[in-house]
């Protein structure tokens, strides 16, 4: 867990992939893949730039417990 994308709303525009400073997100043919969730900084660059407001940061249990 780290970046969760609402696939109902996502248009697969790829802005989040472009904005991610860590090469965590990848644009695939039909969706955005969170390929390296364990390397996420939780910075939210993906979220603040999303035109569909469909990205959530969901913290892993290591953070919230």
């Amino acid at each position: 867990m780290s970046i969760v994308i609402d696939t109902e709303k996502c248009l697969n525009c790829g802005i989040c992939v472009e904005n991610c400073p860590g090469d965590i997100l990848y644009q695939e043919e039909l969706r955005i893949a969170v390929k390296y969730p364990e390397e996420c900084w939780f910075c939210g660059s993906c979220k603040v730039g999303c035109p569909q407001d469909c990205i959530s940061i969901v913290f892993p249990l290591e953070v919230i417990i």
Partner: protein, 563 residues
């Protein structure tokens, strides 16, 4: 690995100036070099609009505005900054980089539409005081769009961006810098950037120690800051200063977010498990003391059995709490509010548990580590300039932006005096290329994560808090052995190749930190350099330690402090 990766022909590009790093300092350096008429290329590991520590935002802008009060003057700032850095930063750099630009920059950002005046009723700045300042130097602002705004300005000014590209080596000819090489980790393409001058602007170095939250990339400052500029400069003989003085801060439990400045600036109280306020026990300014004093307090309270420690914000008014949550913490780290929500913390009712980070070389106000530069922001190597968290100048978002501007202007002036671009020998470039792509060719090699993990283990065991001679010698021996394994690390794709490249830099930096820590036979800046065998600060060691590579050896030199 896809078949297409690293199959394209090498690309060579030329410009007057190459800027390495597209965060606070790099974007400003590129923009203002271009305004001076220079042709500028900017290269960054990230995309174009969100890079560096402030990728998603920033909430505090260190500013001297000369509005009247004694503290709001250049003289008062210089005095405070000299105290904060214990004389380790050249005041001429503070003047030429920061003080010369700050008023201009605040107005410039307002003109570009960055909300600087959060007090809407009076159309004025909201300013808060922290970290031992003589007055409220921090403008609270909404910097969510700061990075993309400056990047857009730079693009309008003609700066050409190279994204997703990591720089590995600087190019030198006749003892002058003439470019850099690197690779695009998305396509695999090898790049040769040729330039009359190069500006390093890549920030600090994280991922050096075992992460206290247990998640390797859950660092205070950007985990993608890996000391690339410091390592590249060091490899060609530039001096690095005070690298043993690592940075600590306090972060919410298991979440290494920025936010300490906001918590103390708004009047939060640091308390131990018994509910006692602890900051005044360790520094006369309490929570408003220098940043290093707060981790120092939490460390000793915990050691002596009075941890965990917390921030108590329950005495703040509902308005102040709302302001803290929605105008500061969330602007600095957009996921802060998600953390509070998902961890079910209500700051009006609950204490916020805090913990120490593991130690980083951060880009921040008061940093004393970095690449040595002169007052023109030039390093020891002609043609090589540096600004931002990688350089020994003025850190912080505002400091890095101001210093980036000066570095850009100085490098542009320098490049005008250079007739043509020098050419590095082809075989040297071919050697760098071979080294970059080697992990893709290794079969049955070693997972780079194991080497990075081992490096962190060594650093945390011997080069963290509570250092001594025996441990530091052990660390240096172990790191030297570990370095030999770099020849065997393997990567299966461009992403892994990037991490391999970062690891090589981190190992260079780790050894410089350990060596500096061994040399400095005293303790200074709280936990940042605490030697169990020399637990006090010593006047004979109140000086800068400089390290420089000559051939295979590392030389040490000293500089007196600045008064």
């Amino acid at each position: 690995m896809t078949d297409k990766f690293a199959r394209e022909a090498d690309v060579a590009v030329e410009s007057d100036i190459l800027v390495i790093g597209g965060g606070a300092a790099g974007n400003m350096a590129a923009l203002f070099a271009a305004k001076e008429g220079a042709k500028v290329n900017l290269v960054d590991k990230g995309g174009i609009f969100r890079s560096g520590c402030g990728a998603a935002g920033n909430d505090h802008f260190l500013a001297v505005l000369e509005t009247g009060p004694d503290w709001d003057t250049k003289e008062a700032f210089l005095k405070w900054y000299n105290q904060l850095t214990q004389g380790m930063v050249n005041p001429q750099i503070v003047e030429n980089g920061y003080l010369r630009n700050i008023k201009f920059l605040v107005n410039y950002l307002e003109d570009l539409g960055i909300p600087m005046k959060l007090d809407k009723t009076k159309d004025d700045y909201i300013r808060t005081q922290s970290f031992g300042q003589p007055g409220p130097y921090f403008i609270n602002f909404d910097g969510k769009k700061l990075n993309p705004t400056i990047a857009k300005e730079a693009r309008k000014e003609g700066v050409h961006f190279y994204k997703h590209t990591a720089i590995t080596n600087l190019l030198v000819k006749d003892e002058q810098v003439c470019g850099a090489v690197g690779f695009n980790f998305k396509t695999g393409t090898f790049y040769v950037f040729k330039a009359k001058a190069v500006i390093l602007a890549t920030g600090g170095a994280c991922r050096l120690y075992e992460n206290t939250t247990g998640l390797a990339f859950n660092t205070w400052q950007s985990p993608f800051n890996n000391g690339a500029a410091q390592a590249a400069a060091f490899k060609i003989g530039a001096r690095l200063a005070n690298m043993e003085v690592i940075g600590f801060t306090l972060v919410p439990k298991n979440f290494s977010a920025a936010g300490l400045n906001a918590l103390v600036g708004m009047g939060g109280h640091l308390v131990n498990a018994l509910g006692e306020r602890i900051a005044f026990k360790y520094h006369p300014q309490g929570e408003k003391g220098p940043r290093w004093a707060l981790p120092w307090a939490v460390y000793w309270e915990t050691k002596e059995g009075r941890g965990p420690c917390y921030f108590d914000l329950r005495h703040l008014s509902p308005e102040d709490l709302h302001y803290l949550k929605y105008h500061l913490l969330t602007v600095d780290k957009v996921s802060f509010i998600d953390y509070l929500h998902q961890k079910e913390i209500d700051l009006a009712k609950d204490l916020l548990e805090m913990q120490l980070i593991e130690g980083e070389l951060p880009a921040m106000a008061g940093q004393v580590h970095g690449i040595v530069i002169d007052e023109h922001f030039q390093t020891d190597i002609p043609g090589l300039f540096a600004a931002g968290g990688c350089a020994l100048a003025v850190g912080s978002m505002a400091g890095s932006m101001c210093c980036g501007k000066t570095a850009g202007e100085e490098a542009a002036a320098f490049s005008k005096g250079v007739d043509g671009i020098l050419e590095t020998d082809d075989e040297i470039i071919a050697g760098f290329k071979e080294e970059i792509y080697r992990p893709l060719k290794i079969k049955n090699g070693i997972d780079y994560r194991r080497i990075e993990g081992k490096m962190k283990k060594i650093m945390s065991s011997y080069v963290g808090i509570g250092r001594n001679e025996k441990g530091l010698v052990t660390a240096l021996e172990s790191l030297a052995k570990l370095e030999k394994y770099l020849a065997k690390i393997q990567a299966g794709n461009g992403h892994e190749l990037l991490r391999c490249s970062e690891l090589k830099d981190l190992l260079v930096i780790a050894q410089v930190i350990a060596r500096g820590a061994l040399i400095r036979e005293e303790s200074r800046f709280g936990l940042s350099h605490y030697r169990g065998d020399f637990p006090e600060s010593r006047e004979t060691w109140h000086k800068l330690i400089l390290q420089k590579k000559t051939g295979r050896e590392t030389e040490t030199a000293f500089l007196p402090i600045y008064h």
